[in-house]
Chain length 415, copies 2
């Protein structure tokens, strides 16, 4: 039996305990885990400093180092995250429906834990604690595989969490970390059918593609967002400028930021210079089609590749369209199905956009930046699903559970 | 662009039309499709006769030939199936929730079509019409890949369905069949990401394993059922005999039939001879552990393999257990997570079984044969999911849809 199969076996055993654990016990364990992270501050920060030094020595650059680096404040935020999850409603046990059939069978659909959840993630060490907290609250054991640069940090974090679990009388194996960060181990994890019930990749497009390509375990695809804002003929242009500016610049590095702007030709002459000026102030580079170039002087020409690119940066592609249908067709072609918005005062176009655009979240007159578990009121999220199976859009605790049918009989047989 | 990519592209275009098609139009198309099947009776039965003759010439045996064979009656049942789907409630458009956030955003979760659904199935030609009907009603285009033995039959069926769609003014490509039944085409279909939103295999364990192993498109795993009945110490033994007999023999070839019997040692001496006699009358072979062999004279010894086998035949494995915990551990080890039942008059054990046994459907005092979309009141089913993502248990029209968030704003931006 391989090391990973052993881990899978132990995770399944822990999951049996978690499956029927009352909420107060889970919440107490989450609070104890938060305390344990703070108590292990010295070890965790030392391990992190070593990881950061090694990454810098290997020539890794700025933004990556920032994501990798833990500080006293960031560690405190990780602990706070666990306390917030403790305060959320427990999704497990909810009865989604219950009815009595003609033959007297009483059949209910009940929300139950998933079992064992695998998380593959990249540099941010906070994901280890966040994912553990959400999995535990949802009644599932977690197997974690973080980025190689944060291996030491993740080990220190997981050691603290396991210590807290043991002190609470719970199986340490409610959270486990893969023993190494080799590609072989990652591949084995992606094929751990029978042990892993679901695999959730958290990270960039490359990681997600690799997991989707290689996994035989069911995957929930998260993240990639080539989000559009379409400014309709009837848009309130002041609103439109404010929303585009917010969706592009409030936090450009995230998946719900706007990457592409479509403008109805009837308002292009008025709108594009205005939004261009506002974006210039925020140092946004605009890559436009010919009509855009004529109206925004410092814009540069867009290539076919631009329409399909999630920049996650202060860059915006922009195009003038003939009408609603051309905007819808452009979105249909280039959208990654994350978040799409229309700015319009036209009732019919608003309704058409909501009905016809195929994405996890479709907006009228609001910034795409709202697609977020916290903003949607879920309290916390494990990611934003851009696929259609199981969960679509922000995934909170409910989306980390499954259901089962429970049937109360009194001797019924099938005729 | 390969033939399959072309099909995927056309299916996506058809799906755009289907996504916003009103229910009455879908229902009218389903009724027209039913009529078209009957109108094409001569062509379909001729194609089927040729398929059957070819299969027989290739040495294919009895039960398979029976599944492959269409008759006037079976064709009429296929048409009736489409009419029944027309009569079901349309799942599309249901609002699962709607709320106003503090910032005034109104956010709703709406049930919407999946898009394009792939179905890979084996010999039964009725699956082509059934799957088409459910997909259409759920607002999705279907790409079908049937068994090679039924290729001509499926072509004739799909031709009739496409004719009906065209006559109704709908895209023919709401249903398409792969152009050949080569392994290459099947493999390409399993990797048609970007075109296929979900792939549902319908058939035996081998087919399902192959799809899970090879598909990068999200898969819903259906079917395999190694279902147990545990007869508890406090069971009403008369009820228990009746239920075991029903679950094993009412239709032994299906996934919700009972395959394995666990008996509490305190009632084994009384129960096993009684159930043994009843099963013998129905010509059921019993493969038992030592204690079972001592109590049922014509039982044969069970091997380790028996405990893990879904016979789909008149064979039952049987084992005496010390207590509830040993029964639960046995089920945990060998269950495929389909349907599991306890026969008991003990309240606590009934509740424990429902809580602790991890399966799509868990029963107290009823036959496992009820796990079925029709029995559960879903009207029709595309299969029974034995995995935990998206759908678990019988999958009706609702489970063939996804959701999206629609957000009505009035200029909101994120701070």
């Amino acid at each position: 039996m391989s090391a990973l199969t052993e881990m899978g076996k132990r995770a399944k055993e822990a999951a049996v305990v978690l499956a029927t654990l009352p909420s107060p016990r889970k919440n107490k364990a989450l609070l104890a885990s938060a305390d344990a992270l703070l108590a292990a501050e010295k070890e965790i920060l030392a391990a992190n400093a070593a990881d950061v030094a090694a990454a810098e020595a290997a020539g890794v650059k700025g933004a990556f180092i920032d994501r990798l680096t833990l500080t006293v404040k960031r560690l405190a935020e990780m602990a706070d995250g666990l306390r917030q999850v403790a305060a959320l409603d427990d999704p497990v046990g909810e009865m989604l429906s219950m009815k009595t059939l003609d033959n007297g069978l009483i059949i209910g659909q009940k929300r139950v834990p998933m079992g064992v959840i695998g998380i593959i993630f990249e540099a941010r060490p906070n994901v280890a604690a966040d994912a553990f907290g959400l999995c535990l609250k949802a009644g599932s054991a977690a197997i974690l595989r973080g980025g190689k640069e944060a291996f030491g940090t993740n080990q220190a974090v997981v050691a603290a969490l396991r210590g807290a679990l043991a002190a609470e009388g719970l199986p340490e194996d409610c959270v486990q970390m893969v023993p190494d960060i080799s590609r072989e181990t990652a591949n084995e994890m992606m094929r751990l059918n029978g042990y892993l019930d679901v695999l959730i990749p958290r990270g960039g497009a490359g990681l997600i593609r690799s997991v989707v390509e290689n996994s035989t375990v069911p995957v929930i695809q998260t993240g990639v967002g080539n989000c559009h804002i379409y400014v309709d003929e009837s848009a309130d242009l002041e609103k439109a400028v404010r929303i585009v500016l917010n969706a592009k610049t409030q936090r450009p590095g995230v998946c719900n930021a706007c990457e592409s702007l479509l403008v109805h030709e009837a308002v292009a002459e008025k709108f594009l210079p205005a939004v261009g000026a506002a974006l210039r102030e925020k140092k946004v580079e605009i890559r436009g089609d010919e009509q855009t170039l004529a109206l925004i002087q410092d814009a540069v020409p867009a290539t076919e590749e631009d329409w399909a690119t999630e920049y996650e940066d202060l860059i915006l592609s922009a195009r003038v369209v003939r009408d609603f249908d051309e905007a819808a067709a452009h979105i249909r072609r280039y959208s990654t199905g994350h978040s799409e918005a229309i700015i319009t005062e036209n009732y019919t176009n608003a309704q058409r956009f909501l009905n016809e655009v195929d994405a996890a979240a479709v907006y009228v007159n609001a910034s795409t930046r709202f697609t977020d578990g916290g903003q949607f009121g879920f309290g916390a999220e494990i990611g934003i699903s851009t696929q259609k199976l199981h969960a679509r859009g922000p995934m909170g605790l409910k989306e980390m559970t499954t259901t089962k049918y429970i049937i109360y009989g009194s001797g019924q047989i099938r005729e």
